[in-house]
Amino acid sequence: PCPRQVRSYYVDWRMLRDVKRRRMAYEYADERLRINAIRKNSILPKELQEVADKEIAALPQDSCPVRIRNRCVLTSRPRGVKRRWRLSRIVFRHFADHAQMSGVQRAMW
């Protein structure tokens, strides 16, 4: 008996893939940073930079942070997600109206 919904799975497969991408990006973050430091450089010779380009392209595709999409945490909605709450606008409205969002109030001025 729990007052909230119990979620033991990810909402859908897209959310799962997004989770995998985030984990991989975390793993390869340091390497990407360093190789990029070599690439975006005016001191080192260009040949070295080209080699670095090839290297970074050879890394797994899911390791780049650009592929991460900030989905809604509860519904996996890719659009209309507020970053602060990680929720889609519909879920946010639902909770705010039920007074389950702390410090959130209907605007009236």
Binding site: D30, E31, R34, A37, I38, N41, I43, L44, P45, E47, L48, V51
Partner: protein, 328 residues
Amino acid sequence: TSSVLSKDKDKSAASKDGTPEGTAKRQKDGAETPKQQLLDIIGSMKVEVSYRKKLQQLKASENKQEGLGSKGSVPQGITEDIQRGKPLNPELVKAASAVASSLPRNKKQTESELLAQLRRHEETTDKQKKGEAINIRSVKVISEMTVKRQSPAQRGARISGRISLHFDEDGRRIRPERSAQSVDFRSLKVGKRLNIFTKTSTEPEHALKTVSSPTIWDLEFAKEIAAVTAQPPRNGFEEMIQWTKEGILWEFPIDNEVGMEDDAEFHEHIFLEKHLEGFPKGGPIHHFMELVICGLSKNPYLSVKQKVEHIEWFQKYFEDKKELLQEI
């Protein structure tokens, strides 16, 4: 039993100096009517307490106060011995006289009393026919056992001594020093071992037991107990406590450095040039690495380990690319 009774009765030995003197004299005469016998017994009971205390002091004084007026009073003691007609141990006599001289009141009386007690002690030891060593040992044992009993006697003397201090015009505090000394001469480790208890070596057994004990069954049992005793939280506070223990809730006031144990000093963060030794000097790589180090030194978010790893990665990378670099 008589000695026990005497211990219970008496607290201060100094006040009893008058009576033992009389009893000693009576014993010298040897004429004992029943009344006198009774009086003697009572007197002897009273004296035994003081005797024991003095024996202790004696034994301590033998160690500590060697030259304290013993030489002056030795001839006195010897003459008294000759008067009494029984030979006593000269060392004991010396010690008795030293003790008597150290005590505050009635030095002669205390000395004579001490010597009388010594004589009686010798008589009793001869009667028992056990041999001196054992007797001394038993006396020592008893004297050591009666340490606690003597302290009230000593305390009485001390307090009376302190009262007399107030009247001291010089203001010299000799009395409390001596009383402090008289307290000190019993220590726990001094003295002969009695061998009453055999030394049992239980420590290695305990050590073995604790090492081999955490079996799976014990762990299961412990888990069961924890599960049974862990009642659900009755209120919000208990819930918060539980969450904090599990790690779900942070501890307040919030510590920004939880989990971050950076023991390194500031100079290890900033002066990173010593890690630059593996790189070829002169040339673009060196220039590049200097920039890297400059950036790292300004970085407050990384630990020293992480920074060192960063530099080492670059080192490895450039070593791998050495052939390529030499072509250039």
